[in-house]
């Protein structure tokens, strides 16, 4: 075989053509055969015919050949592509390993940004996107009045109202509820060593059936267990494991709860977390059936949760509720209570109730990490651009050797893909750690936090952001390089000229956008921080410092109310006397509910001499307290405190808060006035400050305090004021309580401060996260500034050298570089401020008594940004001023 001459090789210049190849090959065969036949003596035309006859189905063979050829061509193209990709990856690893500093910095930047994004995505996914952890959870609704100031105590209904609503409504498969005013550690588990406190929730018997929770072991409550006393209990999985060492035969055993034997009828699944859904931050140990018959005498205590019939919408359920509401009694024994719930039975999705309030915070958080990703991406883009400029020659050479532009862009994209791939891996690791940590933050009162994990969706999100980051930020430098003129670059000498100017403008634009984004983050973080500080500054109405509380177990059961009061009075007086003698204790008192927790209201007192018009007077929140409590909590009081003489036979006395006083007797002094509850006269002996009730951030409505020996408290929280740390004081207080009552469980001695901390924990949580992101954004922006200025100094080495040779001083050079930094920062801050002003509306609703245009915050944050910018420009400026003219010129 002889090689084809050069010119004939161009036959397939416009790409492979399998069909033509086959035709050529077969034609050659016929020609050769014809030649042979002619040489055997055939005439040319006959020889040709004979050759064709011998060949047979020429067209058929040709067709087979063309098809096979095309298939081969396709395969070849595919394997070529694969080889190219392999080559690109190989090459990428080689280039990156040649510059490990660059690779490490980029991967770290990306890991931080991607990690933050995954973690926040997981939070958003768990709290907002994923359905609640119940089967068909979209059918579940929370039924409550329209939102008002009084939180849970308004969002509850009487036992009669619950039953009427359940029986008359047509929209539900089932309606259930739970007792909303349970305080932590309301049970005492005895009979197993030292008495242990336990938290039990009373639920309507069909609670778990309506939610769709099945027990891991045993059975659920039956409907009749909500009528009359039934000492049965369901254990949560965690409690069963912790307290009963996962006893496999626990079902059917009796446990002693607060002196009564209860039969354990089942253990709930681990996946069911009551606190996570209904009471964020709370830990629940067990459930007992709510005795509706007993509760009939009490006020509004049951929350309403319904499961809609399939296909029924929330709007239809609302129509249904509006139809039913006028026929519902507060108490069926009292006809005048008919229709009290008119307009106060509003079903809404349970999911919205649980996480709806967080939607804005979470979206803001999501935006913040999105901005971080953008900053990181711009940074990466910038780094790649700087490298690309330094590698311009390498690409030019590759181009000259035949690499197509597409190939070079692909190579650069591959580099950013590899970087972001590693970044994503590392980021995933970071996110895992962060999410694990967050899931165990029991003290943060955020719903569903314990269900937080990195799942398949989060992984998918990771892949998505890793690839899109690489694409967006790898493409820009790639296109930049590919559009450069090869010839110019090859002619240029050194790192200096060529793409220089255009490049620098692009990089400056990128840095300005980075600074602008960081500026937006900083302003948001600043505003949230300001809000948080304002929240901490809120006058709670009490002094949380130097006070702590413990749950006191007492038994005031007696044949009649009078005996019970006498017993309770004696117990409480003994407790307070004993505790007061402990050295260091300044004040002590007992209340049945503490501030910033759940509470209830009883009825609607009316000032004496005024007539009751429905809706005119509030239902005040009720506290039943002993003498000394007001002082122990540090509540400011005008008038006199209760005394032990305010007993069952003396004049009825109350204290009211400032808000209540203002409503009842506007412009008058309430002390000495009388409040009427039906026929009963309550003498107001003092007006106390408003105590923050539902949350630190909400104003308080009317509050009323009754003495514990005139009214029945529902539990006893002993509050002790002392300058001693709670850890030292706790054991002696517990010892004192044990001496009086051996059954006193080893309850936690909890500083009041922690109650406040828990109440502000969601805000602190978001503020810290946004602040962390802002810090990260600032650091990345600083890195970007440093990179650009430092690069431009390197590029201008010669120019600076010449200028210094011509007499420019070091200070002058340094000033010029610093001015360059300032110019970048200035533009960034201007753009960022405008963008912040425009977008701050998004977080306006998250702020607390802080204007979204708070000048101090803006000024402070901009100043911070400017200082950081100057610092990051300082090093390159220093370097520029120390350039020696001779060295610079010689290095040419």
């Amino acid at each position: 075989m002889t090689s084809l001459p050069m010119w004939r090789r161009y036959a397939r210049f416009f790409g492979a053509d399998p069909g033509a190849d086959v035709k050529d090959e077969l034609r050659f065969h016929l020609d050769a055969k014809t030649d042979d036949l002619i040489s055997q003596g055939w005439t040319p035309s006959e020889a040709r015919r004979e050759a064709e006859r011998q060949f047979g189905d020429l067209k058929g063979v040709q067709k087979i050949g063309t098809q096979m050829g095309q298939r081969m061509e396709r395969r070849k193209r595919f394997s070529d592509y694969g080889r190219d990709v392999r080559q690109d990856i190989h090459y990428t690893f080689r280039t990156l390993s040649r510059d490990p500093g660059f690779a490490a910095v980029s991967i770290l930047i990306l890991a931080l940004a991607i990690g933050a994004n995954i973690a926040v995505f997981s939070v958003v996914n768990t709290l907002l996107l994923r359905p609640l952890p119940f089967p068909n959870s979209h059918e579940l609704v929370w039924i409550a009045p329209p939102p008002t100031g009084c939180g849970l105590s308004c969002a509850t209904y009487s036992a009669d109202a619950y039953e009427e609503f359940r029986d008359q409504s047509r929209a539900y498969q089932g309606v259930t509820g739970y007792e909303a005013f349970t305080t932590p550690d309301n049970f005492r588990l005895a009979g197993r060593g030292e008495p242990q406190p336990a938290t039990g929730i009373e639920v309507v018997a069909n609670f778990f059936q309506v939610l769709g929770v099945r027990p891991d072991m045993g059975r659920l409550f039956t409907p009749e267990e909500s009528r009359g006393p039934h000492p049965v209990a369901l254990l949560t999985n965690a409690y069963w494991r912790r307290q009963f060492a996962s006893d496999p035969s626990i079902v059917g055993k009796a446990i002693e709860l607060s002196g009564t034997p209860f039969t354990v009828i089942g253990v709930l699944p681990d996946a069911f977390d009551f606190g996570a859904v209904f009471s964020p931050g709370a830990k629940v140990d067990l459930f007992v059936p709510l005795d509706l018959d007993r509760e009939r005498m009490w006020g509004n205590i049951v929350t309403l949760i319904g499961r809609l019939k399939p296909g029924v919408t929330v709007a239809q359920a609302l129509d249904d509720a509006n139809r039913v509401a006028p026929n519902i009694y507060f108490n069926t024994k009292y006809p005048q209570t008919l229709g009290r719930y008119k307009g106060n039975l509003i079903p809404g999705s349970l999911k919205d109730y649980v996480t709806g309030k967080l939607r804005r915070s979470l979206i803001a958080l999501w935006c913040a990490v999105g901005a971080i990703l953008l900053i990181a991406g711009v940074n990466l883009s910038n780094l790649l651009l700087a490298r690309a400029a330094a590698r311009a020659k390498e690409f030019a050479v590759r181009g000259a050797l035949g690499a197509s532009r597409g190939r070079i862009v692909r190579q650069l994209l591959m580099e950013s893909l590899v970087l972001s791939g590693f970044g994503a891996l590392l980021g995933l690791g970071l996110a895992f750690a962060v999410v694990r940590w967050l899931a165990h933050q029991g003290s943060v009162a955020l719903p569903l936090l314990s269900a937080l994990r990195i799942d398949g969706q989060a992984m998918g999100w990771t892949v998505l952001i890793a690839i899109s980051t690489a694409m967006i930020f790898g493409l820009l430098p790639g296109l930049r390089i590919a559009s450069g003129n090869l010839n110019d670059i090859l002619k240029d000498s050194g790192a200096g000229a060529g793409l220089g100017r255009k490049h620098e403008r692009l990089r400056a634009a990128l840095v300005i956008s980075e600074i602008a984004l960081a500026c937006m983050l900083l302003v948001s973080a600043g505003l949230l921080l300001q809000s948080f500080l304002r929240v901490l500054d809120v006058d709670l109405g009490f002094q949380p410092e130097h006070a702590a509380s413990i749950n006191v177990e007492y038994d005031d059961s007696a044949p009649n109310n009078e005996a019970s009061i006498a017993k309770r009075s004696e117990i409480f007086q003994q407790v307070l006397e004993r505790v007061s003698t402990i050295p260091g204790v300044e004040a002590a008192g007992i209340a049945d509910y503490l501030p910033l927790g759940p509470n209830r209201d009883w009825d609607t007192p009316v000032p004496q001499g005024k007539t009751f018009v429905p809706g005119q007077y509030p239902d005040p929140l009720v506290y039943v307290i002993t003498p000394g409590f007001i002082r122990a909590m540090g509540i400011h009081l005008r008038g006199r405190d209760f005394t032990w003489a305010d007993g069952p036979h003396s004049e009825r006395v109350v204290m009211i808060n400032v808000s209540a006083a203002r409503t009842y007797w506007p412009g008058e002094d309430a002390v000495g006035k009388i409040l009427m509850r039906d026929k009963e006269e309550d003498h107001v002996v003092a007006v106390v400050d408003d105590v923050r009730e539902e949350s630190v951030e909400q104003r308080t409505a009317a509050q009323i305090y009754y003495p514990a020996i005139q009214q029945g408290p529902s539990s006893a929280h002993l509050v002790v004021r002392s300058s001693l740390p709670p850890a030292t004081l706790g054991p002696s207080v517990l010892r004192a309580l044990r001496e009086l009552n051996p059954n006193q469980p080893a309850a936690e001695f909890q500083p009041i401060r922690t109650i406040v901390d828990r109440a502000v924990s969601p805000r602190r949580f978001f503020m810290l996260l946004v602040a962390a992101f802002a810090g990260l954004g600032l650091a990345l922006a600083a890195l970007g500034i440093y990179g650009v200025i430092s690069y431009s100094v390197t590029q201008k080495t010669q120019e600076i050298g010449v200028r210094m040779a011509l007499g420019a001083t070091a200070g002058r050079v340094q000033r010029d570089v610093t001015l360059g930094t300032l110019r970048l920062a200035g533009w960034g801050i201007i753009v960022g401020t405008i963008a912040s002003l425009a977008s701050v509306r998004l977080i306006a609703s998250l702020l607390f008594s802080t204007s979204p245009w708070d000048a101090t915050t803006y000024f402070g944050m901009l100043l911070l940004l400017l200082v950081v910018a100057l610092l990051s420009g300082y090093l390159p400026a220093k370097r520029a001023s120390s350039i020696h003219p001779m060295v610079a010129l010689r290095n040419q």
Partner: protein, 119 residues
Amino acid sequence: MDSSRLEFLRGSLDVLILKALVWGPLHGYAITSLIRRHSEDALLVEEGTLYPALWRLENKGLLEAEWGLSENNRKAKFYRLTPEGRRQLRNEVKTWEAYAAAVAKVLSATQPPEPEKIA
């Protein structure tokens, strides 16, 4: 025996093509004539089966093709054995020889086999 009618046993054409190429690259026409001459005109390869067989072997990576010039300066597609093809040929030859020997043994038998002993 009508030589042109001699049917190829399935798969034997492939091994013949591989064998034809051991001495160097050839185009399709040269392969047919080589096989014809080596078999002393007993085996006539039909074009309708030769070319698809060549393309199939090329597709499998046993052959590779290149355009070149024939003896009388025509552009022709030359096939060459790849290392893979050479290996394949060695195996096929071994199989073929074993097969041929077995067939020959049976065909040259003169008496029925001894009855098999059943253990």
